[in-house]
Symmetry: C2
Subunit: 434 residues, 2 copies
């Protein structure tokens, strides 16, 4: 079975099924299409499948033309999960969020698997790419596959190979980002290596799916903790009257032993604020605490309040209250140069300012209208930045430092700028570092 | 006054006084000597001064020949602080340890300054290189200089420019490591930039001495926290039966957003375990906490116990107690490839093992005999590693992974290896990862 699957992969007669056509799945679809595989793309969202069938893109950095080219050369998007039996490989790229109690919500993984389960067959491989806690593949997926009468390692192959997408990063593509892979058995690993080697330049084998699961978490924990650290340092430096951005940039001139991370108005995106808590949750099962993760979560989640404190004090110095003031938030995407608003701290900041009575507006060149988000509601369009528009607000708050902003224009036409990104260098009376 | 001092620096007629002839001061002596300055080296330790006069080195990576060459070309070591009035520039490179209550001990800085104070004169510059809390230069040195009737910025120049030495790092030298510099006034900064530009390729000006002080602390806080994080991850992974070293190496294949730090048996050296608490102490004055620093300190200081727990359990599995077992500790320097034992966790581990009744020996190619350390006493010489010697110990504990060790020899001739550095790859029954 293994050699047959590998042969189909090598000869590119294998059909690749990718489940979940979002920020992770779609680039993978395009990459497997590019190297010559027939790809079936599964998603429960009919709107997405219709868009793809019509050659339309719903992700800013994926051009519609590439999607159209893919659908013309064998990429078939579908909502019909029964077609899973057509494919040789199933790659799961579904979200793994947290629930309301900040605990892992594996329902997308489990529900997706359960929808596919009736159509699994001998000779297939299944790869999970979603970020998750160590043990997910072994403890949750493996028994489910076995229940189907399949013998993992013999007639079915199960691997964990986490995505490492970095939307908006121009220096790396799906092909050039090394990919790690762990298998439930040696045969599983061999199948996984054979598959991903066709699409990715460097595939790094690990000794187990657990090691691969922890690797992905560690990558994001590292970021969350380092950002937490500089956010705490920002608070300390602020009290001491020192510009933390100057300090970090100076420390970054050290050619070894230091890597700069920059503070901000809080953590955003689908990975860094969420993934670390998958380990926290699992660690408790073993009676150990992940205190760095907890501390980073705590510090990072206070940052919107720190920024709002700076807005309040800047207005107060001019004998104004937030209540009744007009405030323009610059950048509502969670990081610069993308159109992704998932977990964006800008939204939390806008809501808090509105609750305090501010008249809130925003400008974001990547997001023309405030989208409908679960639990968040603003009926707003992006304000065009001009001398007139900027000078009409009592306060301008830089939340996300997109390259497309005209910082000179902002600097010279805003009454007050609260800068939560260290973008404005040097001292100026109307610029408050936050 | 400023232009006169800068002229003397430019023409290399300025005499450079370096105070404190240890790991930081001595390389600086050699560098200023190398570029053509007359250098007077001050130290209170007569043994050091005698060694230097005799052309002998007391630091492994500084060859005696270089010292001899320096003394032949104008370097004068002395214990006579009254000669401070001969020099144009005074650079303070003295230790800044912690006291018993883990609070900053500035006595070396203060005592050194007080010894020099009677000989300070107009036209001089003083630079502090010791790592310390933000405000040290402004709040402690500046008033002391002013008490001498000198006007800082006009007829005397005061800067803070922290050392960034990395003993044993073959890739960087004093010349090639960029140096940051902050001045009490604009003139002070100008003098500091003029001085260091003669010796160092890149000098980075900062807006204040406080910013420069915090920069140096941030560099070491970053390391302490990142090492704390991976040490905590080691504890978590150990409970889950996952090899953290495999995980970190795999995460390091990600080409962006992740930087590997490796766990160990605890923090050592004169910087990383100590410096961060300088900020903790100062932050309290402002009513803020540096919780990442506290947490890192807490986790890192438990690591020797973690390692000892692994020794206990490895021996226990063989029906042996630590009490009465012979244990060979490999590596007692605080990091690999150096002979520096300051704050080395190996010493704490050896003491704890001895307290438990073990017969403790050590091997370290860089340290032939256990030196006399304050509060620590072992009458031991380094054991030569041979088949016979290795196999004679009940347990071998790798504490510091010097490159000079023959790891194959160790692997094949030790009864039990407790590896606290992730040096031995793969699984083997007699190798315990700690």
């Amino acid at each position: 079975m293994l050699s047959k699957l590998i042969e189909r992969i090598e000869q590119k007669t294998a059909v690749i099924g990718i489940v979940g056509l979002g920020y992770v799945g779609l680039p993978l679809v395009l990459r497997f299409n590019e190297v010559g595989y027939r790809v079936v793309g599964f998603d429960i969202d009919e709107a997405k499948v219709d868009a793809l069938k019509g050659g339309r893109s719903y992700i800013e950095h994926i051009p519609a033309a590439r999607l159209a080219a893919a659908t013309e050369t064998g990429f078939e998007p579908t909502t019909d999960f029964s077609r899973a039996d057509e494919v040789d490989v199933l790659i799961l790229c579904v979200p793994t969020p947290l629930d309301k109690h900040r605990e892992p919500d594996l329902s997308f993984v489990v529900d997706t698997f359960d929808s596919l389960a009736p159509y699994l067959r001998q000779g297939q491989m299944l790869s999970l790419e979603s970020t998750t806690f160590p043990g997910t593949t072994d403890e949750i997926l493996l028994p489910k596959v076995q229940t189907r009468g399949l013998s993992v390692g013999d007639d079915f192959f199960l691997v964990y190979s986490p995505e490492r997408e970095d939307p908006g990063n121009p220096n790396f593509t799906t092909r050039t980002i090394p990919k790690i892979c762990g298998g439930v058995t040696e045969n599983c690993l061999e199948a996984g290596m054979a598959l991903y080697s066709k699409a990715v330049d460097t595939v790094v084998p690990l000794s187990s799916t657990r090691a691969a699961e922890l690797t992905k978490l560690l990558e994001n924990i590292h970021r969350a903790v380092n950002i937490g650290l500089v956010n705490e340092m920002k608070i300390v430096a602020d009290k001491m009257g020192i510009d933390i951005y100057e300090v970090i940039r100076a420390a970054a001139t050290k050619p070894f032993g230091f890597v700069p991370y920059y503070p901000g108005p809080g953590l955003g995106g689908h990975c860094i604020p969420i993934d670390p808590f998958y380990l926290t949750w699992k660690a408790r099962e073993f009676g150990v605490n992940s205190r760095f993760i907890e501390l980073a979560g705590e510090v990072n989640s206070t940052m919107p309040d720190f920024v709002i404190g700076k807005v309040v004090s800047a207005l107060n110095q001019r004998y104004m209250s937030v209540n009744g003031s007009s405030i323009l938030v610059l950048g509502i995407a969670y990081k610069k140069n993308v159109d992704d608003m998932r977990e964006s701290p800008s939204v939390a900041i806008m809501e808090k300012l509105r609750d305090l009575g501010a008249l809130v507006a925003y400008s974001d060149p990547h997001i023309p209208a405030f989208p409908k988000l679960r639990g968040h509601c603003f009926d707003l369009s992006s304000v065009e930045l001009t001398k007139a528009s900027l000078s009409s607000y009592d306060c301008v708050l830089l939340a996300t430092d997109h390259d497309r902003f005209d910082y000179d224009l902002i600097k010279h036409n805003s009454k007050i700028i609260v800068d939560s990104r260290g973008k404005f260098l040097g001292a100026a009376e109307h610029i408050i570092k936050a």
